[in-house]
């Protein structure tokens, strides 16, 4: 019997309830790892390689910008798609994230269906385009 290997998503947010919501929502189709701080997430990335990272911006100790920069500087995660989450809707925040190497940006509170589409788009870019 073929075992289906689920794509791995790393969620980084210091808000427990946001992590739980994302875990509950995405774990049906993906393997979801939730980590409550950017520093711990970087440690986790030393030995693991996710297919997608979803990260909050406003976090204590290390914020999402610094985390994004460090992830992009590392060889293994240089091209891992990253979706940034933020409570701020200003375009300058989005531009900053894109310039630092994020693929997408979602404003909290987000529509779960939009998140689902962004995840699919980033995990399966070619298949997603063919469906158009």
């Amino acid at each position: 019997m073929n075992k289906i290997i689920k794509k791995k998503i790393l969620v980084v947010d210091d808000e427990i309830s946001i992590c739980m919501l994302l875990q509950n929502f995405l774990s049906q189709d993906y393997e979801v790892i939730t980590i409550y701080s950017a520093l711990e997430a970087l440690e986790w990335l030393e030995g693991n390689l996710p297919d997608l990272i979803i990260s909050d911006i406003q976090m204590s100790k290390m914020d999402g910008y610094e985390f994004l920069t460090k992830v992009r500087q590392r060889g293994f995660t240089k091209h891992t798609p990253i979706v940034m989450l933020s409570g701020r809707a200003e375009s300058k925040e989005r531009i900053k994230c894109y310039r630092l190497g994020a693929q997408d940006y979602l404003t909290k509170p987000f529509n779960p269906e939009e998140l689902e589409e962004l995840v699919k788009k980033n995990l399966y870019p070619i298949h997603y385009a063919i469906e158009w």
Partner: protein
């Protein structure tokens, strides 16, 4: 939408779990866990806002308000959502005012109402 065990549908609810239920894929156990975490987190955050106010820590209040705002939307607590938006308007003036203290007190009062209703609906007995 899944109704909480003790929900009285004739009353206007202070919260709406439609989005939470959607994100929990209709799993009652996960919805209950989310409600418990929400109760704990909101109580804690508002307590921290009050402490931050007494310490004149404007940035901390701003950061806490920014953090909890999306949760009010996910849990459909429109009264809290409205109140936090008004609090953010005050925070945009970047001064610690008595008006801000009243807003935080009001947030606390509304949060207590919401929490009390949630606890009753979901048979949550702990303090």
């Amino acid at each position: 939408m899944i109704s909480p065990p003790n929900s009285n549908s004739s009353n206007v609810k202070l919260y709406d779990l439609q989005v939470v239920v959607q994100m929990c894929r209709g799993n009652d156990e996960q919805v209950l866990k989310m409600v418990e975490v929400f109760i704990e987190q909101i109580s804690q955050s508002i307590k921290e806002m009050e402490t931050a106010y007494s310490e004149n820590d404007f940035l901390k209040i701003k950061s806490l308000a920014h953090k909890i705002k999306p949760l009010f939307t996910y849990f459909g607590t429109s009264k809290l959502e409205k109140e936090i938006l008004l609090t953010e308007v005050l925070l945009s003036k970047e001064v610690i005012s008595f008006e801000l203290k009243l807003k935080i007190t009001n947030l606390n009062l509304i949060a207590r109402e919401v929490i009390s209703e949630m606890k009753n609906d979901f048979n949550i007995t702990y303090e």
